[in-house]
Subunit: 404 residues, 2 copies
Amino acid sequence: MCSSVDLRGPSSTPKAAPGPVQDIGEVYLEEHRELVLEEIRRIVREGSPGDDRAYRLMLDYPLRRAKGLRPALCIAVCRALGGEFEEVLPSAAVVEMYHNAFLIHDDIEDGSLTRRGGPALHRTHGIPAAVNCGDGLLALTLGPLLGNTDRLGLGRALRILDIYARAVLESFEGQAQELSWIDEGTWQLTDADYESMVRRKTCSYSFVAPGLVGAAVARAEPSVEALLVSFLESLGLAFQIQDDVLNLEEGRADYGKELAGDLWEGKRTLMLLHALRSAPEADREEALRILRKPRPTAGSSDVGLADLLREMVDERVIDEAARAAMLGYLDRRAAPPGEKTEGDVLFLRRLIDGHGGIEHARAVARRHAASAEVGWQRLAEVLADSVHTRFIAWLKDYVVQRTW
Amino acid sequence: MCSSVDLRGPSSTPKAAPGPVQDIGEVYLEEHRELVLEEIRRIVREGSPGDDRAYRLMLDYPLRRAKGLRPALCIAVCRALGGEFEEVLPSAAVVEMYHNAFLIHDDIEDGSLTRRGGPALHRTHGIPAAVNCGDGLLALTLGPLLGNTDRLGLGRALRILDIYARAVLESFEGQAQELSWIDEGTWQLTDADYESMVRRKTCSYSFVAPGLVGAAVARAEPSVEALLVSFLESLGLAFQIQDDVLNLEEGRADYGKELAGDLWEGKRTLMLLHALRSAPEADREEALRILRKPRPTAGSSDVGLADLLREMVDERVIDEAARAAMLGYLDRRAAPPGEKTEGDVLFLRRLIDGHGGIEHARAVARRHAASAEVGWQRLAEVLADSVHTRFIAWLKDYVVQRTW
């Protein structure tokens, strides 16, 4: 099914392209994204009795522009180990469905405004429908996983369910850890604390589980699974740290999430933790004060009030002088609890720059990228050369090169 | 394990007690609630590496005052059919864990203020932690269900997973249906539409699935399963309709949810649908206008504004006349979108009373209760007499007698 992928695939415009290897990866991603989307559509259609609005909403995030790294990784590992495409496809679709369910709830939890170039689902359809939509996508993953018993037999089906159950639980734990750090104002964290959170929040469901599911379908030996876990954990850490760095960098229009969203959300990234550790006490206190403030909500009451005052002047309820006096008072007044301002976020951004936060994060990412390189060398020894093996190598290069 | 339950159990104070039969049920519920809670604690402890805040939060709802009808039903059906307590306990715990995960997300979706006599979880811990806590409870249900393969063998374990997957998907559908009716202002619905929604939202995971899981553990024949489904669907419908009626009735301090919460939330109950169908057009239009308004949020912006104006007078930013003029303007101004008021909810309540909404709902509930009676007679023929069979009979009486 991947016969059209070859070394002479059409040239695209990668940013840090390692030559023709990049082309393989992009074609491989694109082809598999289509196949996985078709499978997700089929699963959603099977769940839905008619043309149901609630089921259509499940396809909103999956249909937005995205790379589809996770299902492609799952399929590539399976096929590189000799497994069949048809056998792994439903489980690869589940990997992508879980990712989207996670994103829907994650966006609510982080108060994210945008996702993949559009507004977050809870902003277009409300929190109630978005919470339920995520639950629905999750519920819908159980069918294909149970269907694996017919497709793959009980042994492999249960192994995949085990991998899935563990990944789902670990992402809950990672998410809970991150939320509680924000909630409790925690900052005395080591890089190891951050990495332990990311192992559960990102590495588990985005790298390790897709790889292990692919390996399970291909009946891989435990020794191969161990090589995979080691390689993919390092790769996932390098990926997430670089993702955090990208989130900070401005002016990247092709980057789906809103800019510096992590600072607005108060996320404990390596950059921020490093800056908090390195800053003089007064700056740190100011940063912690800012971090305790919530991000502005969509319909901020201050914006609403300014509009209302303008309206009252127009309607001759108050005069212009009263409006000016009130706006001035509102500006002077430190509105408790108060929301983060642009200036607050700029302060955090400068604190990170002033203490080499990004350089520190990049250095840690490079260490993990180097580990991933070592892990890949070991893993590659047990994989036959094929387009699938070359795709995994491309994916490794893609992640690693983002980190240099 | 239930040897202490007998016909001469300690007398309690039921409201509509059918004599000593009531005592059996309450003792049975209480004993099994303790055993199921202990099992849930064990499952949560197993998931949690240390004394983890996120895992402790999962026990918040389960530890509040509740009857534990669902796991008790699951266990009773299993044992009435000759199954073993130890074999069914983990799955009964899953039934209760899923129920609590559903409630956590349901309370967010409905904007509910209270649950089981305390504030809703998202009000004490915020929406982010509550969304994630529900996800965590859901994730934690997969372990015991997969553990069933060791306990019960592959066949029964997969059957239980199938029942569970279906129930989880159906409750998503029922929930989505209810939310979309509220969201889209739908009112031209028949009683059959309402019943189809309740079959998925309530009957499936609260009645049918617990019964079928118990039956699966006891290796029940398909013919017995069919009798169970028919009996439990009717019982679930009678239960939910009566639950809706109780939600409307005031002055019941022992009723855990906030009073008339369904009207604030705009839920399409049988009473409301009947009143909308029966009311003259003008009243209906007014009711629909009210139903389109959202319920007030905890920190209503109007309240905040009034406080702010008072503060501005105190701080001599504006004078008392300006404040009065502004408050007057705000009163005259039809603030879009506007929130439901006490008066609005009273209007809906009176519309329902004026058109016999409660009598209509009770009549429908009685029909389902009568079906449940018939279903029970058929089912009872295949069950040997035991404390478990008598508990199911008590549960049936408990639900049916609420509906007279």
